[in-house]
């Protein structure tokens, strides 16, 4: 990796981790949401370093640009109360979360140490670097040839979720258009 890439990698990694800490540690929900946006944006930069341009753009567009806007929308509209991380409520949940988090961390450390430097996340046959026509073409090709069924099932799930939202949101006292 060139020097510039290493510098960018470290900056965005540190910012992503700081954002992650911010999500759980901030008392105000708005700060948590802003921290999450920071993390998502820096993850997009890490994707760019892996030459996964399409995933990076999709990450910003969908998670940072759409999902988090709705989060903030709800938080600002409803005026959610502040919540202290080490407040005295729900001790059971806190210890349970610590335990599960430790387990997850142990699992990640185990697998990373086991696979060593081989863990790149890039399957040799899907190497987007080599696809000279570019990232998006390679991605679309795989999507419509290798993964057509999952790709078609996902929109179906989204439609189910949308129908559910409409059914829940519908007023019980007659229709108001």
């Amino acid at each position: 990796m060139p020097v510039l890439a290493i510098i960018v990698f470290w900056i965005s990694t540190v910012l992503a981790v700081l954002g992650g800490i911010g999500v759980v540690a901030s008392p105000a929900p708005v700060y948590s949401a802003v921290s999450l946006i920071l993390t998502l944006a820096n993850l997009a930069i890490l994707y760019l370093l892996l030459n996964a341009q399409f995933i990076a753009a999709a990450q910003v567009l969908i998670y940072a640009g759409a999902v988090m806007v709705l989060f903030l929308f709800v938080i600002t509209l409803l005026g959610v109360r502040d919540y202290r991380l080490f407040g005295d409520r729900q001790p059971l949940q806190r210890y349970g979360a610590m335990l599960l988090g430790a387990l997850l961390l142990a699992g990640i450390i185990y697998f990373v140490s086991k696979s060593g430097t081989g863990l790149t996340g890039v399957h040799s046959s899907y190497n987007a670097f080599q696809a000279h026509k570019g990232n998006v073409q390679a991605f679309g090709h795989e999507l419509f040839n290798g993964f057509l069924l999952p790709f078609e099932i996902t929109p179906f799930l989204l439609v189910v979720a949308m129908i559910g939202a409409v059914a829940l949101g519908k007023s019980t006292q007659g229709s108001r258009g």
Binding site: V3, L4, F54, A58, A64, A66, L72, G134, V136
Partner: protein, 347 residues
Amino acid sequence: MSPVVEAFVEGVIKAAIALGFLLNSFAIMTIMERKVVGRMQQRYGPNRVGPFGLLQPLADGVKLLMKEQIIPARVNVPIYIVAPTISVMVSLMAFAVIPVAPAFTAGPYRVGWWISNPNIGILYLFAVASLGVYGIVLGSWSSGNKYSLLGGLRSTAQIISYELAFGLSIVSAILLAGSLNLPEVVKVQSHLPWFILIQPLGFAIFAIGGIAETNRAPFDLPEAEQELIAGYHTEYSGFRFALYFMAEYINMVTISALATTLFLGGWLPINFGWFPGWLQWLDNFLLWVPGVLWFLAKVSFFLFAYMWLRATLPRIRYDRLMWFGWKVLLPLAVLNVLITALYVSLQ
């Protein structure tokens, strides 16, 4: 110098040029808007500062800089300060992939008239532009003022709603071009007609969506002063207010540049190849005019159209705005994409 350092230096120089261009265009547009709207309303517009009032932006800038920056009592300070910065940063970042003119060769270097040219140029622009909402949401929330919050919520709902139709209208142009790379989209239009001729409906949806995305009249509901004072920037004054103002105008430039690139052939000259022989000189002249000037002329036309619309059309009521976005614009955009996709796949 190693290629990495060269690329870095090149990027920094180009970014500095683009920054200067955008900030100057902001200054010019403020005076242009007041002049144009003034003339359309049978007024003179500003004409006291300097010749023809041309130094007015300078005076405005000094005034805004020297003003006290009031931080009201019920404000959430860190977010209140960061929010306008987010707006400006995002609007500046979006311009990075706009191709102004074709690449040229200077000595050993091949230089493009763009800061960056990723394969996914249009996706990048769209992704970055979708972040602009945060400046508005956070600014309106942190002001601790219910009118700000209502204005911010309206504006967010409007941007999210119109983003869909806007994005789909871009898709129809992309389908024709067969590339997400912006210079490539322009090059395709040199042998096809400009996409505004093939995609009149797509262009109309793009234009309407673009105006709604930039919160400009007749879609400037967040600033409906009769109901909401000044919307999300009610509590902002001095330089922070200027930042919001700047973001709005730079977004207008970017949307106009995108419209030029996608639908009006970017830097390409108007082609009258079918002219009879005795008008050949006119065609030659049009071809001789450099691409940068063509690009600037097209962008300026769109910016003028923005002001024209503001002086002409009344503001739309909020429920009509939502109705129009979801029930008219979105179905039309989907239909347009379907027809375009069918046409492209049958070719």
